[in-house]
Amino acid sequence: MSEFFTKNMARNIYFGGSVFFILLFLGLTFDTIRELPKRDHRENITEQVAHGKLIWEENNCIGCHSLLGEGAYFAPELGNVYKRYGNSKEAIIGFIKSRPVDGIEGRRSMPQFNLTEEELDAIAEFLKWTSEVNTENWPPNIQG
């Protein structure tokens, strides 16, 4: 780099640039948080939905699945599974309940989690709520 561009100038760009963009990012975060209630319909986060999220986390579903496109890529996207299963909580519950303990020969397998009826209901409610978030029309089609 040439002589007239000094180390001090470089340092000032670093300091000035960082401070400016940190502040801008905080501003945008503030605005996003204000806008979110219109998009995540949080009024529907019942105790059951919140419990479903905890069950989701405590069984590490994200370790095989993606949710709204984030997570693992080993098993189907679940952000829209409620819609893929014809808006049916029962179908989701039925699927999770019926996983064989020893897996399915030669096929990628999902564990049998032995969840209670109440836990199954909560996780299905959580997946239903997730499928209703405004995601700007993602995923491109029902297959996720």
Binding site: M1, K7, A10, R11, I13, Y14, G17, S18, I22, L24, F25, L28, D31, T32, I33, L36, R39, D40, R42, A50, K53, L54, W56, E57, E58, N59, N60, C61, I62, G63, C64, S66, L67, L68, G69, E70, G71, A72, Y73, F74, A75, P76, E77, G103, I104, G106, R107, R108, S109, P111, F126, V133, T135, E136, W138, P139, P140, N141, Q143, G144
Partner: protein, 461 residues
């Protein structure tokens, strides 16, 4: 070794490499499960292997960053480390926390681990990369505090160089952003929004400061180029990293319930994010061309050039590939993401740790500035095996990703599992490339045990 206390870096590097081996073993297990779904099921379900793979990755990189700091900060500050004893205690605490956590993942179902560690008291588990039990997370914070105190005091009481100040800034940032892993609201969208403050603001923010400063240190030592020039480059690189990378977080806010304006912000700033990586490539090659000394450790120069090139390809090129919102609409959460994640993590952060280990280990082991010629030859072979294998892993995953998008999201809208079956040939090839990677890693470990005549001394030219 110029300062006795630099010796504490050695166990950190050894632990890093051991965990690297564990990481790759579990990567290969997952690679098998991708093509033979019932492999090791139900003993090691895929999600468990994945946690071990990604968490050991992060922990070994952190061990590497810490070892690098303990090695280079005394030399930069021109004084002994504040407390070598504390550094050793911290080492054992960190290793025990990491070891117990991995044993926990492998020995009991995850939900049991969540129960016995009291996850319901402060739920933080079960999110990608942040799967560790809450007590492990608290342990990591304590380790970070003790580490930052040790390094911080050494810098404050000694000579302050641009390299050490930038390094410490990056390390403080790393610790601060990790605190967001404790924020896990009931609202999934808010949870996701701030989850990226750990993940993205690490790898495309503060970690770039750490990467840049370690690279600068190694280049100063091996090329003998004037510090003034190197410092200026370092400032420009990290300036561009933060100017593009902070708002660049928006490339993760396209489809997770966040407002639509992020599609513009994330696309524009994401598209600029390759700049700091590109500058790093130019930086490394310019300094090496301008070198004023011939360092006998040829391997470290190779690693430094490898970092500069592969980080640009993995983060810069493969990042750019899917950072524009209209493209990301189709690639989001596919094998394209996995391809990019592998090349970027390996090219930038795995390789910078291997670079500093290559530079520091001969010195720490009292072998002078470099290993014997024969040891270096083995090390350089391992470089080529691992790098080329990683290029192929990336290409095969990219091929899988393109087909996956075509079949599942474009034309036929086939179900996920059907598509996975159709593209399994790419996963077989990925596993093959993974085995080559493993051979490279074994060669690398072997290179530490190769003896032979001492290499020549540093020659100023």
């Amino acid at each position: 070794m110029q300062y006795q206390s630099q010796a504490v870096a050695k166990p950190y590097f050894i632990a890093a490499l051991s965990l690297f081996v564990v990481q790759i073993i579990f990567g290969l297990i997952m690679g098998m499960q991708y093509v033979m779904g019932d492999f090791l099921f139900p003993e090691i379900p895929f999600n468990v292997a994945r946690m071990v793979h990604t968490n050991t990755l992060i922990i070994w990189i952190l061990f590497g960053f810490m070892g690098a700091s303990y090695f280079l900060v005394p030399e930069e500050a021109e004084r002994e480390l504040e407390s070598p004893r504390l550094a050793i205690i911290t080492f054992w605490v960190f290793l025990a926390a990491a070891g117990l956590t991995v044993i926990g993942y492998l020995s009991v179902p995850y939900s049991t681990l969540a129960k016995v560690t009291g996850n319901h008291l402060l739920p933080t588990m079960g999110r990608e990369f942040l799967e560790q039990p809450t007590i492990t997370k608290i342990g990591i914070v304590l380790v970070a505090l003790s580490f930052l105190y040790n390094i911080g005091m050494t810098v404050l009481k000694g000579r302050k160089t641009v390299v050490s100040v930038v390094l410490v800034t990056g390390l403080v940032g790393l610790a601060v952003f990790f605190l967001f892993s404790f924020y896990n609201p009931e609202n999934l969208i808010l949870d996701k929004y701030f989850w990226w403050w750990v993940v993205h603001l690490w790898v495309e923010g503060v970690w770039e400061l750490i990467l840049g400063s370690i690279l600068a240190f190694v280049l100063i030592k091996t090329t003998g180029v004037d510090r003034e020039i190197i410092d200026k480059w370092l400032y420009v690189i990290i300036a561009m990293a933060l100017i593009t990378g902070i708002i660049g977080t928006g490339h993760h806010y396209f489809w997770i319930g966040t407002p639509g304006y992020w599609q513009w912000l994330g696309s524009v700033f994401g598209a600029l994010e390759p700049i700091p990586f590109f500058l790093m490539t130019i930086f490394a090659f310019t300094m090496i061309n301008k070198r004023r000394r011939n360092h006998p450790n040829k391997a470290v120069t190779l690693w430094a050039m490898g970092t500069a090139v592969l980080s640009f390809i993995g983060a810069g090129v493969w990042g750019f590939l899917h950072t524009l919102a209209p493209v990301n609409y189709y690639t989001h959460g596919t094998q394209i993401t996995a391809a990019h994640g592998h090349m970027a993590f390996f090219g930038a952060y795995a390789m910078i740790v291997l670079t500093i280990i290559s530079y520091a280990m001969p010195i720490l082991r009292g072998r002078g500035p470099a290993n014997s010629h024969s040891a270096q030859v083995v090390e350089m072979w391992s470089f080529w095996f691992m790098s080329v294998a990683m290029v192929f892993i990336t290409l095969f995953l990219t091929g899988a990703g393109i087909l996956q998008i075509w079949l599942q999201r474009f034309e036929d809208a086939l179900p996920f599992m059907v598509v996975q079956d159709k593209i399994s040939i790419f996963y077989w090839m990925r596993e093959g490339a993974g085995l080559i990677f493993m051979i490279g890693l074994i060669l690398y470990i072997i290179s530490f045990f190769v003896k032979g005549k001492d290499a020549p001394e540093v020659v100023e030219v």
